[in-house]
Symmetry: C2
Amino acid sequence: MLELIKILNYKEKLLKGSFGIERETLRVTPEGDLALTMHPKAFGSKISNPYITTDFSESQIELITPPLSTVDEAYNFLSALYDMTVLELNNEYLWPQSMPCNIPEEKKIPLAQYDIEDAYKGEKASNYRKHLLKKYGGKKQLISGIHFNFSFNENLIKDLYKVSGFNKEYIEFRNDIYLKVVRNYLRYRWLIIYLLGGTAVMHESFGNKCVIKLDKVNEGSFSNEGAVSYRNSECGYKNPIDLYPNYNSVKEYVNSVKKFINDKVIDSHKELYTQIRLKAYDNDNFLDSLLEKGINYLEMRSIDINPFDKTGISREDLNFIVLFLLYLLIKEESDFENWQEEAQNNQNIIALYGQKDIVLLKDGEEISKDKWAIEILEEMKEILKVLSIEKDEIIDNMILKVKNPSLIYAARISEIVKKEGFIEGHMNLSKKYRDDAFVNRYKLEGYEDLELSTQILMKEAIKRGIKVELIDRTENFIALTKDNHTEYIKQATKTSKDNYVTVLMMENKTVTKKVLEKNNIKVPKGFEFYSLEEAIENLNEFKNEAVVIKPKSTNFGIGVSVFKDKVSEETIINALERAFKHDTTVLVEEFINGKEYRFLVIGDKVHGILHRVPANVVGNAKNTIQELVEIKNLNPLRGKGYKKPLEKIELDEDVKMFLREKGMTINYVPNNNEIVYLRENSNISTGGDSIDYTDLMPEKFKKIAIESAKAVGAAICGVDMIIEDYRDKNSRYAIIELNFNPAIHIHCYPYEGKERKIAEEVLALLGFI
Amino acid sequence: MLELIKILNYKEKLLKGSFGIERETLRVTPEGDLALTMHPKAFGSKISNPYITTDFSESQIELITPPLSTVDEAYNFLSALYDMTVLELNNEYLWPQSMPCNIPEEKKIPLAQYDIEDAYKGEKASNYRKHLLKKYGGKKQLISGIHFNFSFNENLIKDLYKVSGFNKEYIEFRNDIYLKVVRNYLRYRWLIIYLLGGTAVMHESFGNKCVIKLDKVNEGSFSNEGAVSYRNSECGYKNPIDLYPNYNSVKEYVNSVKKFINDKVIDSHKELYTQIRLKAYDNDNFLDSLLEKGINYLEMRSIDINPFDKTGISREDLNFIVLFLLYLLIKEESDFENWQEEAQNNQNIIALYGQKDIVLLKDGEEISKDKWAIEILEEMKEILKVLSIEKDEIIDNMILKVKNPSLIYAARISEIVKKEGFIEGHMNLSKKYRDDAFVNRYKLEGYEDLELSTQILMKEAIKRGIKVELIDRTENFIALTKDNHTEYIKQATKTSKDNYVTVLMMENKTVTKKVLEKNNIKVPKGFEFYSLEEAIENLNEFKNEAVVIKPKSTNFGIGVSVFKDKVSEETIINALERAFKHDTTVLVEEFINGKEYRFLVIGDKVHGILHRVPANVVGNAKNTIQELVEIKNLNPLRGKGYKKPLEKIELDEDVKMFLREKGMTINYVPNNNEIVYLRENSNISTGGDSIDYTDLMPEKFKKIAIESAKAVGAAICGVDMIIEDYRDKNSRYAIIELNFNPAIHIHCYPYEGKERKIAEEVLALLGFI
C-alpha cells in the first residue's frame, strides 16, 4: 500500500479528506450542578438544527460540525459552535469533561424534549431515549465525548483503485480500504485512548459501582492510580457484553450485526457501541444501504473530551489523528486470529492503568506499552518520510507523552482536581472558555478572511441551525438553507429582499434625491451645474442661502466651500470657480448644520442608530495623549485592518499635525474629562468611536428613516440623516444618503452603548426566523 | 416692460417656459376616405392615455405632448407621437390637413366610443360629444387643428414681480401678465393665421353652405382666390355668434363667461371657442379655480395643420411663436375700445382673402396688411436686439412670407391640390410621412442621446399612455407611471422585478456556474487554479477531455489554448504555463464546440433568440468587397456609434489584414453567393449581423434557457447558450453566461428575421399591460 500511495505522489494532499466532529457537553450551573433548564430557544428545533442539538438529556448539548476538508477547518468550526452556544446560555456554562459534573438522582435527569412541529421524528427520538434510560441508566447517558467522522479524499481512493490493478468493482475496493482502517483502528486504539484520554477522575454523584472501588482524590471526587480514561473503561458507556462484529467484508459485517439483533443482545445497529463505526449513505436503512452502496465514512468514538481545550479536542491532536489514519491505511495486518478480544483487553488495561508502566498483548505476545507505542510512532515517521510529508513535530510531541505520562490530559486534570477540587477545577476552565467566547463574539472563527458583517450573519445562522454554504468566499457570497428554503446573500445585506432598481436608485445620488423629494422627504436642496456660466446665471436661486459648493466627484473636501451664512455674490462666484477647477460638474447644496446619524432600517423598523465621532481620548490629568491612546487601544474590540469592529488609534503624522495645529503634542497631558480629538474625520477606519443612539432617538426621526427606505422600496437600508438637535422634535434635518449595503457589525459592536442583534433581524427578514 | 425684462438679463433663457402641443388628425383609408374602424387597441383607454386619444370622432386621433421646457422638445415629442401612432395603424394613414378628407354623411361619422372601465368619465365624454353633434353638426367636428399650450418661465414672472414694484399680490401680477398676452394675442392673431394658415381648399364631401359658394379647384375640391384659412373663417368651427368675454381682469372674465352661460349662449366655458383660452389649475372647476388660484397657462387655438410637416406644425413656426409670445408680453396696448370686434373682423378678412393685398383696421384706422405685418415683425427684431437674443433669421423668414404670399402653406397646398387633386395630393404627403415613421421605428425622436433599448421602451410606454419621466437622463434612468402605479427602470431591463442578489449571482461567473450546476443545468465543467503546481496536481481531472485553458481575467484570447481533442500531458502543461504568465488564476474549462445563441427570457418565456455572425458580404460575381460593403451599409438600420440597431461595416486595417491572411483584398470580386467574412469577432459593434432564431429553435433549448433564468430567480435574463447543432434535440450544449441587463434592441431590429416586440413584454412584466 505504501508503494502504491508513493506512486501517486499526493504529498500533503493525502491529509485532505472529509472531517466532521461531534462534541457532547453538559450545561451546568456556576456551581457545577447539572442545569435543569430547557435547551435555549435560540437554537431552534433539535431535530432540524444540524449544528447544535441535544443528546440524551435536555441538558446535554451536542455540537456538530459539517464535513470539512481539513481538520483545521473542522476545529475552527467547532470552536465557533462552542462560542455561539455558551454565549446563548443564561448564567450557565458548558462542562469541559467527559465524565459528568454534579448530577442529581436518575429520575431528576431531564430527558430531551421535542417540539410539537417535530412530532414524528421527535417521538421516535424520545422513545429511543426512554429505551436507553431503561437499559443503561440515565447517569451513564450523561458521559460525553468526541466523535470524529472522516472519509479519505475520494480521488485518492479512485487513483489507488486504478494503480492497484484490483479486479473487482470500485465499491468493493473502497469497502476493503475502509474495513482495513477499521480493523487497524481497533488494534491500535489503545494508543489513541492513552494519548487523548482525559477521564481519570469521577464525581461521587456519578455513583455507580466503579466509584465505590476508587480512592478519594479530593472532596467528592475519586480515582485510582494510573487511570487514563474511565469513559473507555468498564465504568464507561458500553454494551453490557463485549461484541465483536465481523469486519472481513461488508456482507459479513451486516450478517454479524443481524445476528446480534436476532439474539436480542442489541435492539438495533445503533446500539452497537463499538470504538469505531461504519457509516452508511442512508442511516435510516443502515444495513441495506451498507450492502447496496458500501461504506460512506467512519466514526471514531474513543476520544475523551480534552478539558484543556475549549472545543474538547485540540488542533494538534486532530492533526495527529489524520496522520494516524494514514498509518492505519498503510500498515499491513498480521494474521493473528483473536485480535478483537486482544484489542479489547488492551483497551481495558490502558483505560484503567495506562499511566503506569504496563504490559500489553500484541498478536498474543507480551510487549511493554512504551515500547509498542514508540514502535508505532516511529513507523508513522518512517511513512511520512517516504511520502514527503513534513509533520514529524506532531509525532515527536506524542513520543514525549509516551515517555512522560504526567503530560497526558488524564494526569494533568487529576493534578488540577487535587489542587482545586473536581467541581471548582473544571468550572475554572469552563469560565475561562466562556470569557474567551465573549471576547470572540464579533467574529466567526475560521472565517476571519470574510467581512465582519458576513461573519456575524453566518454565526447567527449556524446558531439557529440554518445551513451555511460559502458560494464565493472572496466575494462574501453565501447561501443559507433551512427546510428547503434557500437564500443567497452577498456581504450580509445584499439580499433577495431588495429589488435591483431599488439598489440602483440608492447608488445614484441624483435619483435618490429626486425620489425622496417626490415622497415629500426632506433632502438638502441642490443644483447641478455643468458650467460656471450656468451657475452664475442661476445665482439668484441660492445666493441668499447657507450652501455647500462642491465638485461633483471629489470626495476629500478638495474644492469644497461651506457658507453657513449669507455672503457676497463675489465670494460665491469665487467658490464656484474653485469647484469648477476640480470637476466639470459642480453641486450647490443647501447647508444643514448638525450631527450625522446612521439609521439602519430592516423591514419596516429601525434596528440601530449610530453616530460616529473622530478618534479621541478623554483626559484624566495624569496620562499623556500617547498613554491614553495606548490604554484605549487595549479594548479587545479594537484591531487592525478591519478584523475587529473598531480600529486601533494610530498616532501617525496626520494626528501629530492635527495636534500641532491645536498647539499640542502627543506628550500633552489632558485635564480631567478633557476630550482631545485626534483627527478631523469620524471614520471608524481611522480609530473613530461609534456610539449607539437607538434608544435615545425620538420616534419622529425613526419614522422619517423608515419612510426614506420605503420611498425607494428598500428592505435593508442605511439611512444617513443629518439632524441639528435630535432632542428637539422640530429640529432641522435632512436625508444625506441612502446606503444599500449597510454594514451591520458597527451596530452589533459599538464603542459605546448597547450591542444590537442585527443578524437576527436580517434572518427574520429572509424568512428564517 | 421691455426695460424691466432687460434688467433681468435673461437672454435666451427668456425663450424657455412650458410648452405643450395638441394635434388632431383624421384616420383615413389609402383612398383618402375617413376610416370607419375602431381606434387601435394598442393605445389603451382614451380617457387615461395622456398622449394618444380621440377627439370628437372615433376616427379623429388627438396627439398630446406633455409640457416641455422648449418648443424643440415639444416638436420632437410630437414627431415621436406621430411615428408611433401611424405605425400602429393597419393600412390606414393620418390626414395631413385641418379640413377633412372625403367624409361620409353625418350619421355615418362614428362618435368616439369609450371602454367599459372608463364608465363614468367615458359617459360624460360621450354625452358631451352627442351635445356637440346636435348643436354644431358632425362634419364640422372633424375639422382638426393645432392647440399650443404655454406658460412663461415662472422665475421670469417672479423676477419681474420683484423688479416691477407692483404693490399687490403676486397672483394678480401674474394674472395681469397673462391677460395682457391674451389681449395682444387677440389683436395680432390675424398675423399668425396668415403666416401659419393652411386651409385654402375644401373637399366637396364637407358640403356645407361655404363650399357651395366656392370655385372648383380640381375634381371634388373647392376654394376662392386669396383664401388662407377656412378653418378660421365663418366656415370653420366657431360659436354661432361672436362672443367677447371681458379680459380686463380674471374676475371680470369669469363674470362675463357666467353671463354667457346664464344667457344660454353656451352650455359651459368649454364651449367658448375663442382663439386663445385661459387655462385654470383645476379645469373641472374651471371658473372657481381661475378666481382662486389664477391663470395656470394659455392655449392658442388659431393654428392650422401644416400639411408640409409630419407633425402638423414646423419646428421653425414653433420657434417663431415663442418670439411672438415675447412680443405680446412686451408690446404696450392702445386704449382703443372696440378692439375685440376689430380683431374679429381682421381675422375674418385674413382667413378668406389673406393672400390678397387687403386692408385691415388698426385702432379704427385702415392699414394695409403688408405694412402692419412688416411693422410688427420689425418691432419684434428690435426687441430681440435689446434683449440680446439672436433669432433674426426666424423673423426674416416670416417677412419673406408677408412679401410673397405664394410661400405660405395655404398657397402651397392649393398648388398641390391643383396639380395632384385634393385627395391624392394630401395622401401623397401622408404616405411619405408614414414611410418616414417606419425608417425611424427603432428610435424615439428627441431622445437619441439615450440607449436604443431605453428609447424603444419609452416609445412603447408612451404609445400605451404610460407616463414617462426621465429621472437621470445620462444614466438611462426612467420612471413609468400609470393609474398610480410607478416603476423605475434603468437601461430598459434593470427593473424592480429582479431582486438584487439575483443580479449579483449573474454578475459573478463562479456563482452563476455553481447555482446552475446545483439546479442540474449543464455548464462547461471547470477548475480554477491558483498556481501551476496546483493545476499539475489535478491534471488527472481534465487531461483526457476537450478543454479551454485560459487566464481568469484576460479577455482578448491572450494566453488561451483550446484543445478540441485529447493531447499529451506535456502539451497541457505548456498551455498551463503560458496561461499563468498572464494571470495568477487560470481557468480550465470543458470545451464545447458549437454556435452561441442569446436567449432573451422575460418572465417565464423566451421572447427572442439571436445568433450573431461576424461582419460579412455575400458575393454576386459583379461587385468588389468594397462595393458590397457600401451596398450593405445603405441599410437604414446601420449607423455609426450605436445610434442605430446595427453598425456600418468599416473597412479598417483589421479587415484588410484579415482579408490579406485569406489572400484577398477589398478589390476582390466574390463569386455568386460566396460569403466573405471580414472579421474574426461577431460583435454587432464592428458590423456583425444579428439573425433571429426565435421561431426556429426547438422547445427543448428554450426550456433550458427558462430554467437557467429561474435557477437564479431572474425575471429578465439574457441566457448565452452554446449548442453544437440546434436542429438535433440531443445536441451537446452548455450555458456560457447569464446577463442581467440584456439589450432589447438587438431582438427588436435584427439584421435578418422577424422584428420582436420586446418592449411590450417588459411593460407586461412590470404590470402595465
